[in-house]
Symmetry: C2
Subunit: 476 residues, 2 copies
């Protein structure tokens, strides 16, 4: 595209006139942080420049300028995508549009339970602004100190609280979006109900910047839970986890905020490789669940509900051992096991990660079917099936056989991931539960989506971005 | 369109060959129930015929046939639209495609908390199928014994449980849709997480059949609440309602399932016109709230939470009197006041209804501003501002001045509703909170939507339904 457009100098000088010198980065060294791919799988990435607008009007001006000069745009938030969705692959053609300077909290309305934020707000900043007015913004995930809310919405992020509160998508009441032609759609409504035509916001949420650039959002807030109880539970088997989850939801009136499945292998790796972790239970067991119930106030019955739930499950043989945290410190120690899984994994060798989902009721059958398939395909491989089982979301990660060469193991990726994804698809599951498609899974997508669905997606892309300048090569 | 296409005889015989004789209705008398507009505002409606497919494949075949013969299609569910969305206005050109025979429950999965239903299932049937497996399907509204789930989804229905569970949209995990070209999109996924491309389901939900025909859906289920507590509360003023709502959400850990605002005028009309209703409190008050908290089991603390909430609100002057139902019969009596509002209204004379929403925190300001505007515009008019205040959804209904001629009052509709909608729009609200646009509000829409948003909607319509055969003249 570069060759076809007007001279690069014209474009850059117009861009500088639009954003000021501080708003445009062109030096290779200065661009480097924007070109770093989070998982380190892709290197030597190049961009034409980085634009740093500080208002929606500036974003719109940049997009118009890019449309005029036919410059492809890669929108970027905190650059923590796990599927390489926010970095350029165009060999230097593309402009990176970073939302980092658009980081104002525009409004907080505690009585409407809403907060209005710009796309560049770091997730943790949004959480903190909510807490200041005694409210909860429930989206929570590992990268929350770095990732930006615009990226969270563009990828429909998941995380640890989806069971109770839903994905990022479910937190949105309104959006402001700069369209591919540079017009601004002001859909920043703070309404719980609005049935006046097509729901446009859901089109842009999860579209990974391929249909437009989210510049601001009105998000839902919730009452702050003050009575949080955490248990680490040894289970009879994965099927017991699903039964216990249903009981926990029923017994607590859906106060169940987290339900994470963890196999023994994971606990072993964490205990071995992560300093300061200890085994919560006296003897080892094959499967565990980390369960959290969250009630409104410290005098409530949430703790009693959790105790009685586990007692009955123990009597019925679903649970074989359990510990309930008696303090915030003990709860943090239990969560530390879950939160350091990646650390333990990394120390154990190379790993191939699969972020898949099946219906919650099918999780045990999926693990039972996929595990031996993988173990047969590559003897010695260590299967770690853990994750947000309350959402049917299994992080089905494969750790290299001990002693195997790292690169030789990586070379097995296409074969092994095809096995995993075929099994998931046979069970009506998803090959990307919460991370998105981005660049990484784009080529796999056509094998797992119906022709009708792909065609619908292409129709929407062509209708909204006919020039194909928005985050090219991602998703489709 | 009729004139331009092939002879009607060809079309009808092909249609009969596709659906069988029972699947096609052409006699005027037999078509009459399908041509009746629910609110009775439109009469003398005409259709070419009514098609009654009993499978998605048959729906697809009908749509293909209509595409071939250029016959416009009006999809119809239970025909209870409040905005004339499911009836034809084409003077006899259109085919009504009724989903009534597609009424199977395809699957129930209690451990996945899902149910898979066909579009023609009556809402109450879905609720009952869920209850049979000890689960709740929370969508609940006045027409639930008649309306069909496909219509509920196509209009993104609201109802009395939105505060806790969200609108119809929020209940959907997957959809099956027959597209305008007759292809079937099988998006019947039962997944809590699936980030593999654009979210297509939200495009069809709330589109009122203008982009395709929803034929089946996977819906979310929830634990069945067994500890439901209902209070009828006299409030200091509408602002006290908003403060009490926030407190109720916080104190109960979001177990607040209903929060309905009711003015004294409404209670008066119900008591006067609806047999068997009694005033729940000793003395009259200007404003009331009907509040329901729903907990998991009868031994829980939900009742205590409600009592303590109201005690504190009484001490702080938000609540001036209150009664808590001590039995299911008492709770039903309290709900009867809310549920018979339309009946009381109808007995009091002609009424002009407005289904509007503003941010929850703005409800008091909206009522305070709009009421005197209307009273000044038409002296003697009786303003009834009631409804789902927990969602910011006010049914701002105007009852004719006593003694005024009914038709003369109806003639005031454009003037009065413009006043109401202008005020709503000035407060960043919605002119249709839960009923949709349909035929009734189509012409008003361009005055209240931005040009950018209307253009986006038209772009989507043109991309998905280029021939314009899907429910023409509705929404856009």
């Amino acid at each position: 595209m570069n060759e076809a457009g007007p001279p690069a100098g014209d474009f850059l000088s117009e861009l500088r006139a639009t954003l000021g010198d501080k708003g445009v980065v062109v030096e290779a060294g200065d661009m480097e942080p924007f070109l770093r791919e989070w998982r380190g799988r892709f290197t030597d990435l190049k961009a034409r420049c980085v634009a740093l607008p500080h208002s929606s009007a500036q974003v719109a001006a940049v997009v118009k300028l890019c449309a005029k000069h036919r410059v492809p745009i890669v929108p970027q938030g905190g650059n923590t995508s796990l599927v390489a969705s926010g970095v350029p692959f165009g060999g230097g053609d593309e402009l990176i549009l970073s939302l980092a300077r658009m980081n104002r909290i525009r409004a907080v309305d505690p009585l409407n339970h809403t907060i209005t934020v710009e796309a560049g707000c770091v997730l943790q900043t949004v959480q903190e602004a909510a807490a200041k007015v005694d409210r909860l913004f429930p989206l929570s995930l590992g990268a929350e100190g770095t990732c930006q809310i615009g990226g969270n919405l563009s990828t429909n992020a998941g995380g640890v609280n989806v069971l109770r509160y839903g994905n990022a998508r479910e937190q949105v009441l309104g959006l402001e979006v700069v369209l591919p032609d540079g017009r601004v759609w002001d859909g920043l409504r703070a309404l719980r109900k609005d049935n006046t035509g097509y729901d446009l916001k859901h089109l842009f949420i999860g579209a990974e910047g391929t249909l437009g650039i989210i510049t601001a959002a009105v998000l839902k807030l919730y009452p702050l839970p003050r009575d949080v109880h955490t248990a680490f539970v040894a289970l009879r088997d994965p099927a017991a986890a699903i039964e216990l989850l249903a009981r926990a939801r029923g017994a607590s009136g859906d106060r169940c905020t987290s339900f994470e499945l963890i196999p023994r292998l994971t606990v072993d790796l964490v205990l071995r490789h992560v300093p300061g972790t200890t085994d919560p239970l006296d003897a080892p067991h094959d499967w565990y669940a980390l369960i959290e119930l969250s009630g409104p106030d410290a005098d409530g019955d949430t703790g009693a509900v959790l105790e009685s739930l586990l007692e009955r499950a123990f009597e019925d043989g679903l649970v074989v051992d359990a510990t309930i945290a008696q303090s915030a410190a003990q709860a943090a120690a239990l969560w530390r096991i879950r939160e350091t899984v990646s650390e333990g994994e990394a120390a154990a060798g190379a790993s191939l990660k699969h972020d898949v989902a099946v219906p919650v009721s099918q999780v045990p059958a999926f693990i039972a079917a996929a595990t031996p398939e993988i173990e047969t395909a590559l003897p010695g491989v260590r299967v770690m099936a853990f994750g947000h089982v309350g959402d049917g979301n299994v992080h089905f990660n494969l750790i290299q056989p001990e002693g195997m060469d790292r690169q030789a193991f990586y070379a097995e990726w296409p074969r092994l991931s095809t096995l995993v994804h075929d099994r998931v698809t046979a069970m009506s599951g998803s090959i990307s539960a919460e991370h998105g498609i981005g660049h990484l899974k784009r080529d796999a997508l056509p094998h797992y989506k119906s022709a009708v669905e792909l065609d619908l997606m292409r129709t929407l892309k062509a209708a909204l971005d006919p020039a194909g300048l928005m985050n090219p090569g991602k998703v489709l």
